[in-house]
């Protein structure tokens, strides 16, 4: 151990705070100059934290919701009755769906319909809710065994069982960060109602995103279905997002179908980048993997 004189040590201890302050200010400036620095550090940290969160989140979830086997044992009879009723209802719907599918197929063959490419997808558990005060995002842990590189994963569409939850903005080897549709920076082109009237859905950091730039001739009607639109080339068309709702005069909002407050599992859809790239997706992870090569 190095022995220092008392006055020198005192001077050193007094200097640490100002020096660290200058360093931090420098980091802010550096972060402004090089926007990728923060993203790289965040992706690295997410990769380290995702396994740790996955390890801690499991037991916590089991305790919290009683989703484990023990919790379910207590209302087996009730759940069975509910499932039987649901099953009967779904069987009816299955018949309807099969009839519609057959009709759809015949109509498509009559129209020489070109099918849209099927996306590659996989399921990832949400391990951490890492939203900030002015940001809404979640962290999912991805298996390293997937044949998908982090660069391909950036821009993937994240859906829960019911609708679009967000989009992958950063991806590492073990984790991916998903910007939710409620985030302030989220801008998604959507189609409204049966005619797909164009509008832009923007996040507000609140629970329900707003609708902007709808055409004056076709104002969004209460209860209209909101689907994603391929305008701009960032999203595939026709994915369910939510329902139009007016909470105030002339301020249409979207009630998201996805349960954004309680996301557990997300499916990440990697759509082939065959669409025109009008909105270039910044592939931050690897500069070598260019989007047009994979398409």
């Amino acid at each position: 151990m190095i022995r220092l004189s008392v006055p020198f040590r005192q001077a050193l201890s007094r200097l640490t705070l100002p020096v660290m302050l200058m360093l931090s200010l420098g980091i802010i400036l550096f972060g402004r100059a090089d926007q990728q620095l923060g993203d790289h550090m965040r992706a690295g940290l997410d990769d380290v934290l995702a396994p740790a969160y996955a390890a801690v989140a499991g037991p916590v979830e089991a305790l919290e919701h009683g989703t484990g086997a023990i919790g379910n044992l207590f209302n087996l009879a009730g759940q069975n009755a509910q499932l039987r009723a649901e099953n009967a209802k779904l069987l009816q719907w299955q018949a309807v769906a099969m009839a519609l599918e057959a009709q759809n197929d015949s109509l498509k063959s009559a129209l020489d319909y070109v099918p849209s490419p099927t996306p590659e997808f996989f399921t990832a558990p949400v391990v951490a809710d890492l939203g900030g005060v002015y940001a809404r995002s979640v962290l999912v842990s991805t298996e390293p065994g997937n044949a998908v590189s982090p660069a391909q994963l950036v821009g993937a569409v994240a859906m829960d069982g019911r609708g679009i939850a967000g989009r992958v903005v950063e991806a590492g080897n073990h984790s991916a960060r998903i910007l939710l549709i409620t985030d302030l920076n989220s801008r998604i082109p959507v189609g409204l109602g049966v005619h797909g009237a164009p509008a832009l859905m923007t996040g507000t950091n609140g629970p329900d995103p707003q609708l902007l730039y709808w055409s004056p001739g076709q104002p969004p009607a209460e209860g209209d279905m909101v689907l994603s639109s391929s305008a701009g080339g960032a999203f595939p068309p026709g994915l369910p997002i939510g329902v139009v709702h007016y909470s105030a005069q002339n301020e249409p909002e979207v009630l998201p179908l996805a349960d954004l407050d309680d996301l557990r599992l997300l499916r990440l859809f990697i759509y082939p980048t065959s669409q025109p790239e009008l909105t270039p997706i910044v592939k931050t992870a690897k500069p070598a993997a260019k989007p047009h090569k994979s398409g």
Partner: protein, 181 residues
């Protein structure tokens, strides 16, 4: 023989380990708390809780155990907060260091005074720094951010301090008490 000469060699390994763990307690609890707040519990105001927790930790430990929470560790906590909270890199590091500087400057007055005065001081300081964060983040992103999360964060700060203080005062006298080692 070895044992007798050990008396002159200074504290034993276990004792040094004990002292080190007591010194590390504030830093470790701060970092671990920041990690835990990220769990997807779905609590209301969870995002606002993270900076509130960090500010309360920095305030409390700078007040009662400044040597256990040195400035570089405060900067690390701030950077971690920035990375987790998606704010501009380095912003919380600067704010937490400023908070520590202010607390250290007011330490002689605040440390002997009672809990209520400390609580009031922390509420005032955290309000000022939350507002500063809002202003700087607005400036850095060049958009006027909504002030509602700011209010939630201020309420969070005021509410979380008594709970944390109850916990930390125990640690201050037990697990983190460096003079007991």
């Amino acid at each position: 023989m070895a044992r007798r000469s050990g008396m002159r060699q200074g504290p034993s390994v276990w004792r040094r380990l004990d002292a080190a763990s007591r010194h590390a307690w504030p830093v470790f609890s701060t970092l671990f708390g920041l990690f835990l707040i990220g769990l997807p519990l779905g609590l209301p105001g969870q995002a606002e809780l993270r900076p509130a927790y960090a500010m309360a930790c920095v305030f409390f430990w700078s007040l009662y155990r400044p040597t256990s929470l040195p400035a570089p560790m405060v900067a690390v906590c701030g950077l971690l907060l920035d990375l987790l909270n998606l704010s501009s890199l380095g912003l919380w590091a600067v704010l937490l260091l400023l908070l520590q500087g202010t607390t250290l400057a007011a330490r002689r007055r605040l440390a002997p005074s009672g809990f209520l005065l400390n609580w009031a001081a922390f509420t005032a300081l955290s309000t000022a720094f939350s507002a500063l964060f809002w202003a700087m983040q607005s400036l850095l992103t060049l958009t006027l951010l909504t002030p509602i999360p700011l209010l939630v964060q201020i309420l969070c700060c005021a509410g979380v301090y008594p709970l944390l203080a109850a916990l930390f005062i125990r640690a201050h006298r037990g697990a983190a008490a460096a003079e007991l080692a």
